[in-house]
């Protein structure tokens, strides 16, 4: 018995080490004076500062894209999720199935599609909105799914009928009953969208121009073209932005996007 416990504990520990060690190593590299000579050689924030000055623009752009993407998926995805869950029509079930298609299709393919359609609209193609569009294609399904799942889990139809019987019109029902009841789904969806948008690389890499470089694209750039310490310092900054979001998601009981993808039905 004791042996089994010990074994279990060791395996868990090993697994954690396996997952966390590369991250720790990377962070360590980002604050080392000279990584080749080891972390004991000296610690510095020099690299972090250097990354910040060089890629501040990418951080700002990423946050901007994430906010715009979140706003638009909220405006479109919440009503869509609600309608989808409430509809008893067969077309609604079909739409639900098709919804995950853009997620299943590789980001590169979606990006190519967008380039083929909009590539010739110069101003749009070169603007940040092009990236935002790509991110919406990728994240909207998660928002719709998240909202539709909550709508289906409570008997929204009867709650609305209850509100109507008490004299509430369409808008009053929406504001006083529907929105508060499905709020957990909306919050979960928004957090998922922001996290996915901040981390999205494949699609963004295809769509970006030198002036519309986001955080993950910048990271690839930093690793490819500069010393290991710069890339690692970049990772550190990336983590500092993402980790609070992930903690918030955990606190709100949101499944990680891919798990959510599998569990949504």
């Amino acid at each position: 018995m004791k042996l089994l416990k010990t074994l279990q504990f060791s395996v868990t520990l090993a697994l954690c080490a396996f997952l966390i060690l590369p991250v720790l190593m990377s962070i360590a590299a980002g604050v080392s004076d000279n990584y080749a000579q080891g972390i004991t050689h000296g610690l510095t924030l020099r690299w972090v500062a250097a990354v910040w000055t060089q890629y501040r623009q990418a951080v700002a752009l990423s946050v901007l894209v994430a906010i715009a993407c979140c706003a638009i998926t909220l405006l479109v995805g919440v009503p869509a999720g609600y309608v989808l869950a409430r509809s008893r029509h067969r077309a609604a079930r079909l739409a639900e199935g098709l919804l995950m298609l853009p997620v299943a299709v590789p980001g590169l393919a979606s990006a190519l599609g967008l380039l083929v359609i909009y590539g010739s609209f110069g101003a749009f193609r070169n603007s940040l909105w092009f990236i935002v569009t790509g991110h919406i294609v990728f994240t909207l399904p998660f928002m719709v799914r998240s909202v539709a799942a909550v709508c289906a889990s409570v008997d929204l139809r009867t709650l609305e009928e209850g509100a109507a019987s008490l004299g509430a019109g369409l808008w009053q029902r929406g504001i006083s009953v529907v929105l508060p009841v499905i709020r957990p789904g909306i919050v979960a969806g928004a957090l998922t969208v922001v996290t996915l948008s901040l981390g999205e690389f494949n699609l963004t890499w295809m769509l970006h121009t030198p002036l519309t470089q986001t955080l993950p694209v910048g990271l690839a750039d930093a690793y490819a073209s500069m010393r290991i310490e710069i890339g690692s310092a970049y990772t550190l900054i990336f983590f500092l932005i993402l980790i609070p979001l992930l903690i918030l998601m955990q606190a709100c009981g949101v499944n990680t996007p891919m798990a959510g993808h599998r569990n949504a039905r």
């Binding site: 709650l159 209850g162 019987s165 008490l166 004299g167 509430a168 009953v177």
Partner: protein, 354 residues
């Protein structure tokens, strides 16, 4: 607390759901007087909820059907304009609000002054004995408490009509009985026109001024609980409400002759070859008796013993024997029938099923 109430009138209200081949409700007419409690009674799936939703305005009748509240034709009005109070089968309480907020909802929607809302909500919480639970979340309430919140919430905006869809079905038997009594007192005091849906005949008997017996989307009989029980209009009603025995025989010389013996007709009775009677119409006669049967089974039910007697007619006769007497299977016992059974109108015998 007393509510203003209106009479309700359904005219040729049928209902066919989109895509369905057959109507769920055949065209039905129904008149409900102001302040009356009418119970819609029938087996599950016979269209009670649909009828209630037609009255509420949650469903529209097929072309030609009309719904009146008093003189006003409300057929085209949505539920939010009909001023009805509705208690749903699953209560449909708002999970994001506490008890007080749920009860206040209909008043807040009407933008009444806060003091007035608070006063009215307190009044209703007291009426439904929920004062102590006012700040509770819905998830923290028991089934019986939820039922009372749903009732208080429906009554708060002073509805013209109260509609209840199986409000006690979700509760356990004991609670159901005590709440039934409570509900009865409340409805009498409120004097609001009430339509109450149930499939429980005991509930229907206890609460209804009138009972509407439904089956397969049609009304079988409308009457007071006594009418329905003692003078069922047809075999469907007779078999759905309580237990009904049927005894067939041959009419000869002012008596009914059957396998169990010879039953002399009550004075003034019409000649009959078939009698319908309830278990309580049977009078057990330990010494002799006109008819005899053999105890096939005896089930002790506390207040009485339910006996099934064979060898009287075609089907076993069910009898409720009062008192502490023990009956053994195979025992032969004598009985006669109350004189009233000769005057019970014969329900027509064709059977419809749901």
């Amino acid at each position: 607390m007393k509510l203003d109430s209106v009479p309700i009138r359904l005219e040729r209200c049928a209902k066919t759901f989109p895509g369905a081949a057959r109507p769920v409700l055949k065209p039905l007419d129904l008149d409900i007087a102001a302040g009356e409690t009418v119970v819609l009674l029938g087996p599950s799936g016979c269209g009670k909820t649909t009828t209630l939703r037609l009255i509420a305005g949650l469903e529209r009748p097929d072309a030609g059907g009309r719904v009146f509240f008093g003189a006003e034709d409300v057929s085209a009005r949505p539920i939010e304009e009909r001023q009805v109070g509705m208690v749903f089968q699953n209560y449909a309480l708002f999970p994001h609000m506490n008890v007080r907020q749920n009860v206040a909802y209909g008043l807040s929607i009407r933008r009444l002054p806060p003091q007035q809302i608070a006063r009215r909500v307190d009044e209703l919480l007291a009426l439904t004995r929920l004062d102590a639970l006012a700040e509770r979340q819905i998830a923290q309430l028991s089934g019986g408490q939820r039922q009372r919140v749903a009732l208080a919430r429906a009554l708060a905006p002073q509805p013209r009509v109260l509609l209840l869809d199986e409000p006690l079905t979700a509760l356990d038997a004991q609670l159901r009985e005590s709440l039934r009594t409570e509900m009865n007192t409340l409805l009498r005091n409120l004097g609001v026109t009430t339509v109450y849906v149930t499939h429980d005949q005991a509930e229907a008997m206890a609460l209804g001024d009138k009972i509407v017996v439904m089956s397969a989307g049609a009304i079988e009989q409308i009457g007071t609980p006594r009418d329905i029980y003692h003078q069922p209009a047809n075999a469907v009603v007779a078999s759905f409400i309580g237990t009904m025995n049927q005894l067939e025989g041959v009419w000869r010389d002012g008596a009914l002759h059957c396998a169990g013996g010879r039953l002399i007709a009550a004075p003034g009775a019409q000649p009959r070859s078939r009698l319908w009677f309830r278990p309580e119409d049977v009078i057990l006669t330990p010494s002799g008796g006109e008819l005899h049967g053999v105890v096939e089974s005896a089930t002790f039910l506390g207040g009485h013993t339910r006996l099934s007697l064979s060898g009287v007619g075609a089907a076993p006769i069910l009898v409720d024997a009062p008192g502490r007497t023990r009956y053994a299977t195979g025992e032969r016992i004598g009985f006669s029938l109350a004189a009233e059974v000769w005057h019970t109108p014969l329900p027509d015998t064709e059977t419809t099923t749901c």
